[in-house]
């Protein structure tokens, strides 16, 4: 056997191990979501259930996961819309007219570094005072803390990549600043809007810190439902696993279809 062949073999073996390690936990929840209650308490554990117990899915939906799904979707979608609507004009102004110069941009980036608990605490006191705890609006507003700076930062990068000449030509043709923004810039930064839509949605969808504190009996996002299941007296292993799979699917579908936008969003636009 040549050295080169050995090297190739080792490479693929190592990649296989990597794949197994990163996919195994997902396999384990899928398998768990199809187990009957008794199958969780055997030693050694059952790796593959003998038959698929689908009832965990309707059962977990009935116990609050359905409401969680609807609430999570409402909140994540609204927060995405708010970030796009407020973020794109702000990004345009910062990129093109140097509004706020570098300070504003740096401030926006530094919000990314805040421990959420630092803003959650005072927001909670304020929200309690104005009655926004346990409301959709309160949660949508809190996700803006994270999503809006992200949207501005990413879109600013996309707008700076556009050649100025197109906008200048439109200006010569008599287009107003708003027309230029609406009819020229927005269509050209469509990929940027996709990155922002994808990540603002996923962030709000996946978040737990804000959700657990600002939710209550009226508003229960899916991660909070899962945490409540998991913290109860009787732990419903199968149902929680089913709810976890339900929570993964939307983010996974979005990320798969929009894979080429993933890198730019995950790295805050640092890698194009």
């Amino acid at each position: 056997m040549s050295k080169r062949f050995m090297f190739e073999l080792l490479k693929w073996l190592a990649l296989f191990v990597v794949l197994v390690i990163f996919l195994f936990p997902l396999f384990w929840i899928i398998a768990s979501s199809l187990k009957t209650r008794g199958e969780f308490f055997t030693r050694p554990p059952i790796w593959i259930p003998s038959h698929a117990e689908w009832s965990n899915y309707p059962d977990s939906l009935g116990r609050g996961a359905l409401k969680g799904l609807v609430d999570s979707f409402t909140i994540a979608f609204s927060s995405m819309l708010v970030s796009l609507l407020l973020g794109s004009p702000a990004a345009y102004a910062i990129a093109r007219f140097q509004v706020g110069k570098r300070n504003l941009a740096f401030w926006i980036l530094s919000i990314r570094m805040f421990p959420p608990i630092a803003t959650i605490l005072p927001l909670f006191v304020i929200f309690r005072f104005v009655g926004l705890v346990d409301s959709y609006f309160g949660l949508i507003l809190s996700y803006t803390v994270f999503n809006l700076p992200f949207a501005i930062w990413i879109l600013k990068g996309f707008i700076e990549d556009l050649p100025r000449e197109i906008e200048e030509a439109a200006k010569v043709d008599g287009a107003s600043r708003f027309q230029i923004f609406r009819n020229i810039v927005i269509p050209l930064i469509a990929p940027g809007l996709v990155v922002v839509a994808l990540f603002t949605f996923i962030f709000a969808w996946n978040d737990f810190a804000y959700a657990v504190i600002f939710s209550g009996s009226k508003v229960t996002p899916l991660p909070v439902v899962i945490a409540q299941f998991a913290g109860g007296h009787e732990i419903l292993w199968g149902q929680i696993s089913a709810a976890a799979i339900i929570a993964i699917v939307p983010a996974l579908v979005l990320a798969t279809f929009l894979q080429k936008y993933l890198t730019r969003g995950l790295t805050m636009g640092a890698i194009k």
Binding site: P25, W28, A93, I111, L121, P122, V145, I213, L262, T263
Partner: protein, 281 residues
């Protein structure tokens, strides 16, 4: 005019609450206490820094988690990235499944951890037993609870760093690599003198994002261990959460969160400065 609405909203949800919180941190405000709110100056800060052992331990523990997490995820991420960079065709078929952990909710990752680290019925100890190793109690033991949080976070976020480092590797100018190879660079000297300086700028952004997020670790601790057993896996943000929302002591918790803000800002600035010096060498 165009930035107006965005800045107004950001002011409303970040600056205003932070100022409010800063004010509260100088008082003795408590939700449950009947005594009236009083200005106490820097008392809360003095207590935290000088006397509060639980806080100090949580700070050290969090910094340990940040250091271990960043180190492990960067090293493993680099290994995965260099393996992937040697795959030419159909790389996406490998990359997309590996990236799944980066888009799932930490709550789900935590739930996986709860099942996998389960000492009696979990697959990890079952696997170890097949090799004749008696696995620890993981989440239920003070010696391994923080390790379990670290392992779960590393599982979830190593692919992210692999993606970042892969992009960095791909953007190296090939002529430079070839020239160095002709000059006799290989193995460690190649990595230390050529590859590392070339991938450092992009990699350091990934490390910074990861470090900041590890410092904020909350969800995983909440689901996996609730900070226990004892306080053995209590991170700073989790302790702040307990102080503010379980012990109803918002003034003390505000002071805690401000110390965190200062620590994370100084650390991030220091790290960026250090990286810039490295790049210019």
């Amino acid at each position: 005019m165009m930035v107006g609405p965005a800045v107004a909203v950001l002011f409303l949800v970040t600056i205003a609450p932070l100022l409010f919180s800063l004010g509260v941190s100088f008082t003795n405000l408590q939700f449950s206490s009947p005594q009236p709110m009083r200005w106490v100056g820097i008392d809360n800060y003095v207590t935290l820094v000088m006397h509060d052992v639980r806080f100090q331990t949580a700070l050290v523990r969090t910094l340990l988690l940040v250091a271990a997490g960043v180190l492990a995820q960067t090293v493993i991420g680099y290994i995965i990235a260099s393996l992937l960079s040697r795959v030419r065709r159909n790389r996406a078929l490998l990359l997309s499944p590996i990236l799944i952990p980066a888009v799932i909710s930490p709550v789900v990752a935590g739930w996986q951890g709860r099942m996998i680290f389960n000492a009696s019925y979990g697959p990890l100890n079952d696997l170890l037993a097949r090799f004749g190793i008696q696995g620890p109690a993981w989440l239920a033991s003070p010696q391994t609870s923080l390790l379990s949080v670290f392992l779960t976070d590393t599982w979830q976020w190593t692919p992210f760093l692999a993606l970042v480092i892969l992009a960095a590797i791909e953007s190296q100018p090939q002529e430079l690599i070839e020239a160095a190879r002709l000059d006799g660079a290989h193995g460690w000297s190649m990595f230390r003198r050529i590859t590392l300086p070339l991938i450092l700028p992009v990699t350091s952004i990934g490390i910074l994002l990861r470090g900041v997020d590890l410092f904020k670790t909350f969800d995983l601790v909440y689901i996996l261990t609730q900070g226990g057993p004892g306080n053995s896996s209590e991170t700073l943000t989790f302790l702040t959460y307990l102080e503010g929302f379980k012990f109803f002591n918002p003034s003390y918790a505000s002071a805690m969160s401000f110390i965190q803000l200062v620590v994370v800002t100084i650390a991030a600035k220091g790290f960026l400065g250090f990286m810039q010096r490295q790049e210019s060498v």
